[in-house]
């Protein structure tokens, strides 16, 4: 594959995706600060509400995203180095992780709403539903991006533009992972 001539020391993706990642991190930093302020000002409400969350849902989703990121990293690496003949399978596995995350999140929300917790219950649940909802939107977009990467990885030969696309898409998926880890820590573990 022509992608093999790409220098390894080069920053993956393109400048635009890094600018996007930076921008997204800035926005989510504001979200994280809001959670931290809420935690400080309403410590008891936050602690009580946090206890009603099921840690296993959050843990399961964390493992799904971390595993998905691992699959994407392998897929991109193998495409870039021209290794293997069925690199698409790594993206299929990552898509599976993404879809499982969405399903798990739906079950979790359904259980919470069924138990009488909604975004209007208190500030903790407002942040819980809205910020995990915005993150879920990222996951859905990420799955669409992974489907696109899957198609790209199935091309007979990959040029430098294809490799850049794979890297940029992979970076977005890692961002989705990183944002979840922060949300998991702040909402489930703090």
């Amino acid at each position: 594959m022509s992608g093999t001539s790409r220098p390894r020391a080069q920053v993956p993706g393109e400048i635009g995706i890094w600018a996007f990642v930076t921008g997204d991190l800035i926005v989510f930093s504001v979200f994280f600060i809001l959670i931290a302020i809420g935690q400080k000002e309403m410590a008891e409400v936050f602690s009580t509400s946090r206890e009603s969350l099921n840690l296993y849902f959050g843990l399961c989703n964390t493992l799904l995203l971390l595993t998905g990121s691992w699959f994407v990293a392998i897929g991109v690496e193998r495409c870039r180095d021209g290794q293997g003949s069925d690199n698409a399978r790594w993206f299929k596995l990552a898509i599976g992780c993404g879809l499982a995350f969405v399903l798990n999140k739906i079950f979790e929300w359904e259980a919470k709403i069924g138990a009488g917790f909604t975004p209007l219950t208190n500030d903790f649940f407002m942040y819980f539903f809205i910020f995990t909802g915005i993150h879920l939107l990222h996951v859905v977009v990420g799955v669409v991006v992974l489907i696109f990467l899957l198609k790209v990885s199935q091309r007979p030969t990959l040029n430098s533009r294809d490799i850049r696309t794979l890297e940029s898409g992979g970076i977005f998926w890692h961002l989705v992972d990183l944002l979840w880890i922060m949300l998991f820590a702040l909402l489930y573990l703090l």
Binding site: I15, G16, A19, F20, G23, V27, V30, L34, P119, I130
Partner: protein, 242 residues
């Protein structure tokens, strides 16, 4: 800045003047909004709160009646210019198409966005038309309507940005209508607009229509977006005239 003028289609002075007009329309829209929406009109920062009672809303509006009335005139002028701003971007995309596609889709979103924005200005003007005659809850409803149309229309304004981004990403390599980083900027805008839909459920806090996340973030992002895309249009027009 990586503007691919080398491989861009040929342009004439007539086209360049139209493209620059689109860009300057964006700048003018920002200035007019600062005068009408920020300085006089009380739209940003919000004079009213989603948690205000109808009586409180009427009192605030009545205390600032003339300023908001004059501000409404600037507001509608600002929002009308979204049309020529959006058409400028679509024109630039059209030049890179053999058969029109993305440019048409962009035009539809431009038309929808402009129409919605104009209704925001109408609602704002009606709020201060005769607050002493309207039932107080109707005055508050005009404010609700203005903010709902502005903030809840994420699929329209966000969709507009997505269409601009896709027209960049699907263009031939090295022959994009705008730099590729502008495509990512447009996608980022969608994220910034998205919390606007939360206003449905909150009347207090950061997700209410006067809140930090649901109101300040989308409004400021939207006008920064207009500023950046206007700058790119004017830059392209100037570089091609050399």
């Amino acid at each position: 800045m990586d503007i691919n003028t080398q491989s861009s289609p040929e342009s004439d002075g007539f086209f360049r003047s139209a493209l620059a007009f689109g860009g300057y329309s964006g700048y003018a829209a920002i200035i007019l909004f600062i005068i009408g929406g920020v300085w006089l009109g009380g739209m940003l920062p919000p004079l009213l709160n989603a948690s205000d009672s109808p009586a409180q809303a009427v009192a605030k509006v009545s205390d600032n009646l003339l300023a908001i009335q004059i501000g409404s005139i600037f507001l509608i002028a600002s929002f009308a210019l979204f049309g020529s701003f959006g058409a400028g971007m679509a024109m630039q995309v059209r030049r890179y198409e053999t058969t029109p596609g993305w440019s048409y889709i962009q035009l539809i979103f431009t038309a929808a966005g402009t129409t919605l924005a104009l209704i925001v200005a109408f609602a704002w003007a009606l709020m201060v038309f005769r607050p002493e005659t309207y039932h107080p809850s109707i005055v508050l409803m005009w404010a609700d309507l203005a903010y709902f149309i502005a903030l809840f229309s994420v699929p329209v304004f966000g969709g507009w940005c997505v269409m601009v981004a896709l027209s960049i990403f699907f263009a031939e390599e090295g022959n994009e209508p705008f730099p590729r980083w502008a495509g990512y900027l447009n996608l980022w805008m969608v994220l910034l607009f998205a919390p606007g839909q939360m206003i449905m459920w909150f009347k207090e806090g950061p997700f209410a229509w006067h809140g930090l996340i649901a109101m300040y973030l989308p409004f400021i992002a939207f006008f920064i977006w207009i500023g950046v895309m206007s700058h790119l249009m004017i830059k392209i027009a100037k570089e091609e005239s050399k």
